[in-house]
């Protein structure tokens, strides 16, 4: 290369190094090797310089470089190799296809269970709820919309159990009075119904007499006009006694007795529930076969199918909820395929989420538990909602609100999105 040529290139490069962008037109650089000397950028963030070399002959390749200059020096960050040219082909056409929704015919459907009875219809409620009636798996709206929106019951205890901080905060002022507690759940937090847990009757705990618990039920029924679920202590004998007493005393109210388990004398526990027209939850333990067996025994004992709800047990998120997920999904599919014993609504006790330390423990790195806890409970419940749960027992009002919003979307009609989804690509957030 001549001295003059070198100088010419150096001049060009000097200009390049001093400018951010430079466009050269009609310049031919004819050299085997091209060395660029660019002064390093000051310390701090790198700067970028794009070089594009246009082809001399038509149809040739455009070559692009991206140079990065930092205080450490200059390097090439873009490929210097030209990308291979796309082969010339026939003109491209848009292919129009039609999507057919893959609808399945089911031979079975879920019964509808009515909880609570209105005044003048044998009960004393101002509102009742209906659950179930599903003809397809949940969120298979292309097959069928659910007949009823899944509902949420907030838990009330007759003896306050140890409660996680965020839950305690929501009920602090009413913990000592189940009737006030229930009122707060309905009037302030807008729950669909109440699940009243009469844990004080536990023979291994306080062992309060059944008649005392009946007084609590009475008070709660007077405090709210929604239906209620009666929860026992988990002791098979005492719960049998409790359900019998409640059945007779509150006949016609269409309460839900929670729960009947395999270790009970099933004909004995079912008889008064059937006789006085109440509902029952069958509690099985994350096992479809146990659920079938239990349900079969309860139905054989005479409880009508449309008075039965199945609870396959809900594990906390991270502590076995995936077994709940698969058990519920199998139960619901099996029911729709024709398994009679499983054609009943499903119940999900998402409250159990609070057993997980991820929900309640104060750990700075994990963020505020006032938000983390409810989100954890809601996420647990949604696992159930997506696999077919129709009834939820929950604790935190915020968690309940999230689940209700999802449940409402399942039955919403004539909905329209305000802003297009694709905005997400360009929006500044």
């Amino acid at each position: 290369m001549t001295e003059e040529g070198k100088k010419g290139i150096l001049d060009i490069l000097k200009i390049i190094s001093e400018s951010k962008e430079l466009e050269l037109e009609d310049v031919v650089i004819d050299a085997d090797e091209l060395t660029l000397e660019i002064s390093a950028a000051p310390a701090g963030k790198p700067e970028y310089l794009k070089l594009s070399l246009e082809p001399l002959t038509p149809g040739g390749q455009k070559i692009e470089f991206l140079l990065e200059t930092t205080s450490y020096g200059v390097r090439l960050v873009a490929p210097a190799i030209p990308p291979p040219a796309a082969p010339v082909e026939k003109p491209k056409e848009f292919i129009n296809l039609k999507f057919e929704y893959p609808v399945v015919k089911y031979s079975g459907e879920i019964v509808e269970v009515t909880i609570g009875a209105l005044r003048g219809q044998g009960g004393s409620r101002g509102k009742i709820v209906k659950i179930g009636g599903d003809k397809a798996p949940p969120f298979y709206l292309f097959e069928s919309k659910p007949l009823n929106r899944p509902v949420v019951a907030l838990d009330v205890f007759d003896t306050p159990p140890p409660l996680a901080g965020p839950v305690r905060k929501a009920y602090q002022d009413v913990l000592q009075d189940p009737a006030e507690w229930a009122k707060k759940c309905i009037n302030t937090y807008n729950a669909d119904l109440i699940s009243l847990h009469l844990v004080s009757t536990d023979p291994l705990g306080e062992n309060r007499p059944v008649r005392e618990a009946m007084k609590t039920v009475e008070n709660v029924l007077q405090a709210v006009d929604t239906p209620i679920i009666i929860g026992g202590s988990g002791n098979p004998q005492k719960d049998t006694e409790l359900f019998a007493e409640a059945s007779e005393r509150f006949m016609g109210e269409r309460l839900v007795m929670a729960s009947i388990t395999l270790d009970m004398d099933i004909p004995k526990v079912v008889e008064p529930i059937r006789k006085y027209g109440h509902n029952a939850i069958a509690l099985a333990f994350m096992d479809i076969n146990q659920a079938k067996e239990l349900s079969r025994k309860i139905l054989d004992a005479g409880l009508p199918k449309n008075h039965l709800i199945l609870d396959p047990t809900t594990g906390a998120l991270g502590y076995g909820v995936e077994y709940t997920y698969s058990t519920m999904e199998r139960i619901r599919l099996s029911a729709l395929m024709g398994e009679e014993t499983l054609q009943v609504p499903l119940s999900c006790a998402a409250t159990n989420a609070w057993a997980a330390r991820e929900a309640w423990m104060k750990v700075e790195d994990w963020g505020p538990r006032e938000l983390r806890g409810p989100l954890y409970e809601a996420t647990t419940a949604l696992v159930g909602l997506l696999t077919g749960a129709n009834l939820f027992m929950m604790m935190h009002p915020l968690a309940m609100k999230i689940v209700k919003a999802f449940a409402e979307a399942m039955v919403k009609e004539g909905w329209k999105e305000e802003k297009p989804y694709m905005n997400w690509v360009k929006a500044r957030f």
Partner: protein, 485 residues
């Protein structure tokens, strides 16, 4: 039902020479590993190099292709594999390839913000049963509409992380500029639409990068997929059926229909991974920040429940991410066996004759948490694991798998009473109601039952405030008894 492949189905499309170039002893062994996806077809060198096998190769690839294609984003050693699923329902077969969680960054964020967000993706770790739950990559959005600005942001990101990236813009010119810098990382191109499919299709083919496609309805999405495949021979496609933030039920329904068509109807055009962006909450919803964070998180979890293969997420608050990564980890486990440990007697630290005896169930997570907490608190103890059929403690108390009979039996069977002078059994707080029955049965052997905390995280405080004073008093009393004799 899932299509179950047998080794013979695969073997017949291999050379059958047992040449050993793949590292396996025989072609049959290679076939078995192919089914388990422990090897890739490329490892059979003759199949790829010898032209006479080209027909076999084609057949083999067809045979082992799952109903949902596995798509790779990124380059070794940071390849992100998404899709590859064979079934709709988890109970049929363990789901393949966990949902990828990508965090968004846009080109008008300050360099500090970009750095912070990349740093979050790189360093996020949530430990569960000794496993690190992490995030998968970055979705870079072009909001400036300025290619240079966008390219600069991408280069900055590539400088600090090797995680896979998604290039997000509907403008093909911007995508092309970005590919010049980023194609060597094999990013996912987002997105081809009914409007830009020619340009994006060409770019995806030319740069050999996977590309996402999106449409408001499934017919258009299916058409787009066919269009790209047939015109550009593109087979690395990711489908975005679009979230309807205003009706999440509709969204889940659409995704389910789409995947069912792929798996059960074997519609090839839809046999690709599904992605979508819960981050869209931030461009649609108005109002309270925390409400949006919660909504984004629960949408992501629901999508994970419904087998979505990749989500783009915006919020980088740990509390919104924990439930998502935990749920993802749970739902992708083997549905048949809960992870359990062997029931029996375990030692934590160096227990001696004055150490407490703890008890819990045999769910693996329970065991590891308890062990870890007791170790951290610096306590030496015996731990008696009761067989609860590997269900968590709280569930097994409710489900009557952790019962007083079982505890009593376990204590007697492992003969831990022979190892301690002061026999103190600490029951988990959730099993408090069993304390009476257990004590009645074991009292005769000199046991005292103490009820510990509900969560083993509080075992240290319990040890200091309850157990130690109790032990000291007990020892003092025994001394008294001895001196009286």
């Amino acid at each position: 039902m899932p299509k179950i492949l047998r080794p013979l189905d695969v073997y017949k499309h291999l050379p059958g020479t047992n040449c050993g170039k793949c590292g396996e002893a025989s072609c049959m062994a290679f076939a078995s590993k192919l089914i388990e996806r422990k090897v890739t077809p490329q490892q059979c060198i003759p199949l790829y190099e010898d032209p006479k096998y080209s027909e076999k190769l084609q057949k083999l690839l067809e045979t082992i292709r799952p109903p949902v294609k596995e798509v790779w984003i990124g380059v070794e050693p940071n390849i992100l594999r998404i899709g590859g699923k064979e079934v709709l329902y988890r109970h049929e077969l363990t789901w393949r390839n966990q949902t990828a969680i990508m965090i968004d960054i846009h080109d008008e964020m300050s360099p500090e913000e970009v750095k912070k967000r990349v740093g979050f993706v790189d360093s996020f770790k949530f430990i569960r049963i000794g496993k690190e739950l992490t995030l998968d990559g970055i979705a870079v959005r072009c909001v400036s509409e300025n290619p240079e600005k966008y390219v600069k942001t991408i280069a900055e990101i590539m400088e600090i992380t090797n995680k896979p990236i998604i290039l997000c813009s509907t403008d093909p010119n911007i995508i092309e500029e970005a590919l010049i810098v980023a194609s060597k990382r094999k990013p996912l191109i987002y997105v081809a639409t009914k409007q830009n499919w020619r340009e994006i299709g060409e770019l995806a083919a030319r740069y050999k990068c996977p590309t996402a496609i999106t449409a408001e309805d499934l017919s258009t999405l299916k058409s787009l997929s066919a269009t790209l495949t047939r015109n550009y021979n593109i087979d690395d496609i990711v489908l975005d059926p679009q979230i309807k933030i205003g009706n999440i039920a509709e969204t889940l329904s659409t995704i389910t229909a789409l995947r069912r068509a792929a798996v059960e109807k074997e519609e090839k055009e839809l046999g690709y991974p599904i992605m979508t962006a819960p981050a869209a909450v931030w461009s649609i919803e108005e109002g309270d920040e925390n409400d949006k964070k919660i909504l984004e998180s629960v949408i992501a979890s629901s999508l994970i429940s419904r087998f979505v293969d990749l989500v783009v997420f915006h919020t980088i608050d740990t509390w919104t991410i924990i439930p998502i990564v935990v749920w993802r980890d749970c739902v992708y486990t083997d549905p048949r066996f809960p992870p359990g440990v062997k029931p029996g007697l375990y030692e934590i630290g160096k227990p001696n004759e004055y150490s407490p005896v703890l008890s819990t169930g045999n769910f693996a997570l329970t065991y590891y948490l308890v062990r870890d907490d007791v170790e951290k608190a610096g306590i030496n103890a015996y731990l008696v694991i009761v067989d609860t059929e590997a269900t968590s403690l709280q569930s097994s108390v409710a489900g009557k798998k952790y019962t007083s009979d079982k505890v009593i039996e376990a204590i007697k069977e492992v003969k831990v009473g022979d190892r301690v002078k002061i026999k103190a059994l600490i029951l988990p707080g959730y099993a408090a109601r069993l304390a009476g029955e257990v004590e009645d049965a074991l009292m005769g052997d000199g046991w005292t039952i103490l009820v510990g905390p509900r969560d083993s995280g509080e075992i240290g405080a319990f040890y200091e405030k309850v157990f130690k004073p109790w032990l000291e008093e007990k020892i003092a009393k025994e001394k008294e008894v001895k001196t009286n004799f």
